[in-house]
């Protein structure tokens, strides 16, 4: 693994990014729409009004089309950990595997079992049991998200484990620390609530289109009402969890935060860049201005990062080159420690093999002194520790701008809903239709930020992607990449065509 084929690593990253992004086109809608359907059906049961059943069934049909492809794209991610990231699988399997198994046992079966009742059980089970099943699908889907996000949270902020030099892997020491890691909780709440927003935008957008065409007016008005309330609450919560998320990034992944903000030189009362254009030529330490243009809010970044407007926020240069005043160890120094850790690990293994217990023990003790820097030992140069700046910066800002727009949008819809007796102006309806893709853009941007911003690490600070991959040929990964691209695009086109047709046909006539 010493002479890693970099292009193979990059193709593996590309493949994982491709499959994850495709998967994430479908999942947020599933997570949010499942709850909206449960709301619709609950109202139906409470009121006994058949129109609500009609509404439930209409959205359920769209849910089904979307759900299927979410599953199709999801299975591949689970297995790609093994096929493309086999060394990662070994090194973290002891921690990562447990939430994944729990996900299978607790969540997937709830979804799979009650999905059949939800779709085909209308005439086969009681109304109450049907409603129960719909709720179980919503809860099951969101529980599925919990466990995988616990795993992702752990990759951003590894906790509750210890490196075992004998097995050359990380081993779990505290399951609860992994499960209730603040990063895991923040990932879960932020991701699920943002999915509720996306689904609300979807429901409102399609309903608005019906209203613009003066079709299915009752269905559209009622759907908008429920989705706008759900969307408003969810979007406010997204803002709250987003703030928490940024705070955690600042505490646990300072490099990611610096890159998100294009902050090269750390400072006290650090400003937040509200908008800006990155200077693409800028390198750490070269003295160039990182921006062509920027609008700043003084002190806001310090406040966001440390809940203290006067606090110091480290920049990329501080983190790469170190800053003795602020007590920040630079990447270069950590790389040296990391190389030492690798060397000590090798000595330990060697001594163990030859039965030299005293050398083994001393190497092991020395290794534990520097083990925190193990991952840095695999880096080729300090600049490698900096994630791609432009992608991270823009995805973060795009997400924030859209995330600020959504609550206003929902509030506006609710205003016309309540105060103007559902007389929505046509510009608002058009805006609602346009907002559907914006929900998807914001959602994708969030994941791009989370994952690109974590580079070069598979596990923050401990395992770079270059060491995490499988030892397969570049050609093999290239080939599967293009198969996925072809297959998923084909299925996406089919999905969109089916969805569009279903929307155009509207609900089943009574």
């Amino acid at each position: 693994m010493v002479d890693v084929d970099l292009s193979q690593v990059n193709w593996s990253r590309a493949q994982f990014a491709l499959t994850a992004m495709y998967h994430w086109i479908f999942v947020p809608l599933t997570l949010g729409l499942s709850f909206l359907i449960a709301f619709f059906e609950s109202i139906y049961l409470r009121t006994g009004n058949e129109e609500w059943k009609n509404i439930t069934k209409f959205w359920m049909a769209l849910f089904g089309v979307n759900f299927a492809i979410g599953i199709a794209t999801g299975i591949i991610l689970e297995f790609e950990f093994g096929t493309n990231w086999s060394n990662y699988s070994w090194m973290v399997g002891d921690i990562f595997g447990a939430p994944l198994a729990a996900e299978g046992i607790f969540a997937f079966f709830i979804e799979a079992t009650f999905f059949a009742v939800m779709f085909f059980g209308w005439d086969r089970v009681s109304k109450r049991f049907h409603l129960f099943s719909t709720w179980m699908v919503a809860i099951g889907s969101n529980l599925s998200a919990l466990w995988i996000l616990v795993a992702n949270g752990w990759m951003q902020f590894p906790i509750g484990m210890k490196f075992n030099p004998d097995s050359a892997r990380f081993e779990m020491e505290n399951f609860w620390e992994v499960l209730f890691s603040p990063m895991a909780i923040s990932k879960f709440t932020h991701t699920t609530s943002s999915s509720f927003v996306l689904a609300s935008l979807f429901v409102i957008g399609i309903s608005a289109w019906y209203l613009l065409k003066s079709r299915h007016v009752l269905l559209a008005q009622r759907s908008i009402m429920v989705a706008a309330i759900f969307g408003l609450l969810a979007s406010l919560y997204v803002a709250f969890t987003g703030d928490e998320s940024a705070y955690l990034v600042a505490q646990k992944q300072p490099m990611k935060l610096a890159v998100m903000e294009g902050l090269f030189d750390g400072q006290t009362r650090a400003p937040l860049v509200a908008a800006g254009i990155i200077n693409g030529d800028k390198q750490p330490g070269d003295g160039q201005d990182p921006f062509w243009f920027e609008v700043k809010i003084p002190g806001a970044l310090s406040l966001l990062s440390n809940r203290d407007i006067n606090s110091f926020v480290p920049g990329i240069n501080d983190l790469v080159f170190g800053n003795s005043v602020q007590n920040i160890v630079g990447v270069q120094e950590r790389m040296e420690k990391g190389k030492m850790a690798i060397e000590l690990l090798r000595n330990y293994k060697e001594a163990k093999k030859t039965g030299n217990e005293s050398v083994a023990n001393s190497s092991k003790d020395a290794f534990y002194e520097v083990q925190d820097s193990l991952g840095y030992g695999y880096l080729k140069n300090p600049a490698e520790a900096v994630p791609p700046i432009a992608i991270t910066f823009y995805s973060f800002h795009l997400m924030v701008v859209l995330g600020s727009f959504f609550p206003l949008f929902f509030a506006l819809i609710l205003f016309f809903d309540v105060k103007k007796n559902k007389h929505y102006p046509s510009w608002l309806l058009k805006l609602a239709v346009l907002s559907v893709p914006l929900g998807y853009v914001a959602s994708q941007a969030g994941w791009v930020l989370a994952e690109v911003g974590r580079q070069p690490w598979a596990i923050q600070g401990l395992l770079p992607v270059s060491v995490a991959t499988s030892n397969v040929s570049t050609t093999a990964v290239q080939t599967t990449f293009f198969i996925f691209l072809f297959l998923f695009t084909l299925l996406l086109v089919a999905e969109i065509k089916i969805m569009a047709t279903q929307i155009n046909n509207g609900p089943e006539e009574k």
Binding site: G97, A101, F108, I498, A500
Partner: protein, 378 residues
């Protein structure tokens, strides 16, 4: 109580749990088997829809069981996950592709403007049921025939063939196991449809196909069993973990573990009994014998592969690189934590069984395909 279990017991327990999930998957392959009957069993489009709607109520259960099987192996035996998936890259990728196309096919087949046309989605289902299961069989076969890989001291895997796992499908034993699983899935598929659908012609066809496919599967089953019990196996020396080749390894495992012998005989008996009542007694309940029979045979296979100091993922390239449930497992702590999680399994099985009963109290019939809400069907 779980907290007190020693490491070895937990490793064995998790091999048994993973085996159980894998064996249940083989039973639930009736969905895949049924998919391969799509071009033989129905006489017209209505009958085809009836079959697809019957299978469509269960496909996710099979799919989820496969996902759990993967998850359980990742969690309990991460070195296997890393070695096999990262090494036998192509075989697993091909299997996955067949499951991707399955997942959309039920939902999309009958929808207007579905881009690829109903026929394509039916072919997708057929490919999943045939190629998918064949390759899974071949992959399971390597638990006995081994693969060509080495593992270094940092536990990193190097696959030693340029075919990345495809070579598994060229081994006659693996191939036979794969073909047997496909035929057995077809038998189970026919029995499930017989049990689930109320339709005279389909029922007659199911009985016939269950029988024919069973007869075809017999030579493959007998070959696999005979070869298995005669072949050399990779064994572990308990005192130092060293791996060596042992004659009649699996036969010794079978004789040495009366429970496995009992499972095998009972399993085979149940499978045959299920076929017998289906073919000769006019019963619709064959699936409830042959299905659990398949689970027991599956448990025997996995038990022979992993228990009794056996290497469950042997390396033909470097004997000592072989994976055992002891050198490939998660840590004591993780296995303990997961065992608490696994306490939920009986509860999960219970609600699945309850829902299954609720949904299948009444057989599916042609009348279910028309009338209100019928455009929401598969």
């Amino acid at each position: 109580m779980i907290g007190q279990l020693d490491y070895t017991t937990l490793q064995q327990l998790w091999w048994i749990i993973a085996s159980l999930v894998g064996s249940l998957f083989l039973f639930l392959n009736f969905v895949q088997g049924g998919q391969t009957l799509l071009f033989t069993l129905p006489k017209n489009d209505k009958e085809k829809s009836l079959i697809i709607n019957s299978l469509g109520r269960k496909w996710e259960l099979t799919f989820t069981t496969l996902v759990l099987f993967g998850g359980a192996l990742f969690a309990a035996f991460p070195k296997f996950y890393a070695t096999s998936f990262g090494g036998a890259y192509w075989v697993w990728m091909l299997i996955l592709f067949t499951f991707i196309i399955q997942a959309v096919s039920y939902e999309y087949r009958k929808k207007p403007q579905n881009f690829l046309g109903a026929k394509t989605y039916e072919v997708f289902l057929f490919i999943n049921g045939s190629v998918g299961i064949l390759l899974i069989g071949a992959a399971i076969g390597t638990f006995f025939t081994g693969s060509s890989f080495s593992i270094n001291e940092m536990n990193q895997v190097t696959w030693q063939t340029p075919y990345y796992g495809l070579e598994a499908a060229l081994n006659f034993f693996n191939l036979s196991l794969g073909i047997f699983l496909v035929l057995n899935a077809r038998v189970l598929g026919a029995m499930y449809l017989l049990n689930n659908i109320e339709h005279a012609e389909i029922n007659v066809g199911c009985r016939r196909l269950a029988w024919i496919n069973f007869m075809w599967s017999l030579p493959f089953l007998l070959f696999v069993l005979a070869k298995l019990l005669l072949m050399e196996g990779h064994a572990i020396r308990p005192e130092n973990g060293e791996i060596f080749l042992q004659k009649w390894k699996y036969l010794q495992n079978l004789i040495g573990n009366p429970l496995l012998l009992l499972f095998l005989l009972t399993g085979l008996g149940l499978v045959i009994y299920g076929i017998f009542v289906t073919r000769f007694k006019g019963k619709n309940s064959g699936i409830w014998f042959s299905g659990p029979g398949t689970v027991l045979v599956g448990l025997t296979l996995f038990g022979l592969a992993g228990l009794n100091d056996t290497v469950f993922y042997p390396s033909t390239y470097d004997l000592q690189s072989g994976l055992t449930i002891y050198n490939a497992s998660s840590s004591h702590y993780t296995l303990t934590a997961m065992s608490y999680v696994a306490l939920a399994i009986p509860f999960v099985v219970a609600y699945i069984a309850y829902v299954w009963r609720q949904m299948d109290k009444r057989q599916l019939s042609i009348s279910d395909l028309s009338g209100k809400g019928s455009n929401k069907l598969y």
